[in-house]
C-alpha cells in the first residue's frame, strides 16, 4: 500500500527526514513512533502530498506522490495533527463538504456521511456547530472526515492527542475496527495503544529509521538479556553462590536486604529462562520464598532503548 524509498526532507540547516525507506502492506495497521521532532509529521505530510521530498520517492496506493498526486490523495484519508476543522460549520455540513470535495456524488455523499457519522458515533451531534464541540468530538469529526470516502489507506497523525483515558480507549477500539476495512498508518506517542492495535511498528528518531518490526519482536530483542528477581529469607551470600552455579546464569547481585528478606537480581544468558532451576534450588535448600519473577520488557523499554538520548541533547 505504501512503498517509501530513501525519502529525505532537508530544510535550510537541518535534515528533518534522512533517507528513510519502509513498506506498508495492504490490510496492515502500522504504528509510526518517534520522539517529538523526529520527523514523523513531516514524513506523513510528504506521503499525503502536502510537502514534497528533497530526495527519494514514495508510492502510495500504487501511485507516485509526485506524478500522480491527485490520485494518491483520492485514495488516502488523512487526519492531520491537531485536527484542523472549520469551527463555524455544522458537523454534517462539514462532512458533506469534505465528501463532495473528495469526489463523491450527491447521493453517495448522503449515504457516506451518515455511515461515517455512525462509525464515529457522531449522529447525536450532526447539527452542532463544530466550534462548540468538545475535543473528543472534534477528534471524531476529523476521523469521520478521513474515512468518509472509504479510502484504502488511512493516515492518522496523533489521533489520540489530548484525549482523556476513556476516550483514548474508545478510539483504540475504533481504530481496531477500522483496521478490518482499511490499511492504517498511525503516528502516536501512546505506546500502550500501539502495542494493542498495531501489527507492526516503525520507529524513527531524528529523521532516521531505527526499527521496523512487530511490537513483540522489538520487546523480545530487549528481553534477550532479561532479568529474574528472587526474594528469599535466609543467608543471602550462600544463596548467591548456589544460584551462580546454575546453568545459564551470568551474574547474581544482591539488591537489598530488609530484616531477614533478601532480594537477588539474577542476570542470565540470552533467551534462557532460569526460573524453573531457581525454584528447584529453593525447594532443595528449603529457603522461604516470597517472590520469583522474570521481568518482561515493554514496548516502552524498547522505545527508550532505541531512541534514548543523554539529557540535554
Amino acid at each position: 500500500m505504501i512503498q517509501v524509498s530513501n525519502l529525505t526532507k532537508r530544510y535550510a540547516g537541518h535534515t528533518a527526514v534522512d533517507s528513510i525507506s519502509f513498506e506498508v502492506g495492504k490490510g496492515e495497521i502500522v504504528g509510526f513512533l518517534g520522539p517529538n521532532g523526529a520527523g514523523k509529521s513531516t514524513t506523513l505530510k510528504m506521503l499525503t502530498c502536502f510537502l514534497s521530498a528533497t530526495e527519494g520517492t514514495a508510492t502510495v496506493a500504487g501511485y507516485d506522490i509526485y506524478d500522480n498526486s491527485i490520485n494518491v490523495r483520492k485514495h488516502v484519508g488523512y487526519m492531520p495533527e491537531n485536527v484542523p476543522l472549520y469551527p463555524d460549520m455544522r458537523v454534517k455540513e462539514y462532512l458533506t463538504f469534505r465528501s463532495r470535495l473528495k469526489g463523491l456524488g450527491f447521493r453517495d455523499t448522503k449515504k457516506a456521511v451518515n455511515e461515517a457519522m455512525d462509525i464515529c458515533s457522531l449522529s447525536d451531534v450532526d447539527s452542532k456547530i463544530i466550534g462548540t464541540l468538545s475535543k473528543g468530538y472534534k477528534q471524531r469529526v476529523g476521523l469521520a472526515d478521513a474515512l468518509v470516502n472509504k479510502p484504502d489507506l488511512l493516515i492518522l497523525d496523533e489521533p489520540t492527542n489530548g484525549l482523556d483515558p476513556n476516550q483514548i480507549r474508545q478510539s483504540r477500539e475504533l481504530i481496531k475496527r477500522l483496521g478490518e476495512r482499511h490499511t492504517i498508518l498511525i503516528s502516536t506517542h501512546i505506546l500502550s495503544e500501539v502495542e494493542m492495535t498495531c501489527g507492526r511498528v516503525i520507529i524513527i528518531d531524528r529523521g532516521v529509521l531505527r526499527a521496523s518490526d512487530t511490537p513483540a519482536n522489538l520487546v523480545r530483542r530487549l528481553q534477550a538479556a532479561g532479568n529474574v528477581s528472587l526474594e528469599i529469607k535466609g543467608d543471602a551470600e550462600k544463596a548467591e553462590e548456589a544460584i551462580r552455579k546454575l546453568p545459564g546464569v551470568k551474574d547474581v547481585v544482591k539488591e537489598f536486604q530488609r530484616s531477614e528478606w533478601a532480594r537477588l537480581s539474577i542476570s542470565t544468558d540470552s533467551n534462557v529462562d532460569v526460573r524453573e532451576d531457581v525454584f528447584g534450588l529453593v525447594l532443595k535448600k528449603k529457603w522461604n520464598i516470597r517472590e520469583l519473577v522474570r521481568h518482561t520488557a515493554s514496548l516502552e523499554d524498547a522505545f527508550v532503548d532505541l531512541v534514548h538520548h543523554p539529557e540535554g541533547e
Partner: protein, 251 residues
C-alpha cells in the same frame, strides 16, 4: 471544474453566514446613499459641467469607502486557512491548487459584486421615483459599472495574493490596503508638481485607477484599461498559486 464549484459555493456561503458581510454591505450602502443624496442636492443648487455619475465616482468620499472594502473581503481567504491549519486538509484532498485559488478568488468577486451593486441601483431607483430626465447618460452608467467591476477583479487579486503570503489576517489586510491605495494615488501624482520634461509622471499616471475611471465615467470605453486590469489580475493570481505551492519546498 466540479471541485471549483464545491469550494466556490462553500466560500460564498461562509461569507454570507458571517455578520461581517451584512455589516459591510449596510455601511457601504449608508455611506454611498448619503453621498448620493448630497450630490443630488448639490446639483440642484448649482449646475455642474459633469454628470451625477462623474461627480459621485470621482469624489474622495466614494473612494475612501471603496478601498477599505478589499482588505475586508480578501484578508481571510488564505490567511485564515493557514492559521487554522485547514489548508492542509484542503490540499491533501484531491484538490488542485489552481482550483482552490480560482474558487476563492471568484467567491470574493461575487461577494464584492453583492456589496457594490446597490450603489448602481440608486441611480435607477432615483430615476424611477423622480420620473425626471436622467442626470447622466447610459454610456456613463455602464462604463462606470464596467470600471468598478474591472477594478474589483484587480484589487481582489491583490488581496488574494496578500492573504496567501501570511497567516495573519491583519498583515494581509494592511498589505492589500496599501496596495490598493497606492494604485489609486498614482492618479494624484500631478498634484505634487511635475518636473518639466520628465516622463515618469506621465507613465505612472497611465497606470492609475483615477485616470482610467475618468474616461469610463464619461462613457468612454477604452480597451487599454480592460486589458490592463484583466492581465494584471491573472498575473497576481498566478503568483498566489506559486506562493501556495512553494510551501512544499520552502523551509
Amino acid at each position: 471544474m466540479r471541485t471549483f464549484f464545491i469550494i466556490f459555493l462553500k466560500e460564498v456561503k461562509s461569507f454570507f453566514l458571517s455578520p461581517l458581510a451584512y455589516v459591510v454591505m449596510a455601511l457601504f450602502c449608508l455611506l454611498n446613499g448619503w453621498l448620493f443624496v448630497t450630490m443630488v442636492n448639490a446639483m440642484r443648487l448649482k449646475t455642474t459641467p459633469t454628470s451625477l455619475i462623474y461627480n459621485l465616482f470621482n469624489s474622495g468620499w466614494f473612494w475612501m469607502g471603496f478601498v477599505i472594502l478589499f482588505p475586508l473581503i480578501t484578508m481571510r481567504l488564505f490567511a485564515e486557512e493557514k492559521k487554522m491549519g485547514t489548508l492542509e486538509g484542503l490540499l491533501t484532498a484531491p484538490v488542485r491548487t489552481s482550483e482552490l485559488v480560482l474558487a476563492k478568488y471568484f467567491a470574493a468577486v461575487v461577494v464584492y459584486i453583492a456589496i457594490v451593486s446597490p450603489v448602481f441601483f440608486f441611480f435607477t431607483l432615483f430615476q424611477s421615483i423622480t420620473g425626471e430626465e436622467a442626470a447622466f447618460h447610459s454610456g456613463a452608467f455602464w462604463g462606470t459599472a464596467l470600471g468598478i467591476f474591472l477594478l474589483g477583479l484587480f484589487n481582489i487579486s491583490i488581496g488574494t495574493l496578500a492573504s496567501s503570503l501570511t497567516s495573519n489576517q491583519l498583515i494581509a489586510a494592511m498589505v492589500t490596503f496599501v496596495g490598493v491605495m497606492l494604485h489609486y494615488f498614482l492618479g494624484f501624482i500631478y498634484n505634487f508638481g511635475t518636473v518639466p520634461g520628465s516622463q515618469w509622471t506621465d507613465a505612472l499616471t497611465y497606470f492609475s485607477t483615477r485616470e482610467h475611471m475618468n474616461a469610463l465615467t464619461e462613457g468612454l470605453i477604452d480597451s487599454r484599461p480592460i486589458v490592463y486590469y484583466l492581465s494584471f489580475s491573472v498575473v497576481l493570481l498566478a503568483m498566489t498559486h506559486h506562493i501556495l505551492e512553494s510551501r512544499k519546498w520552502r523551509a
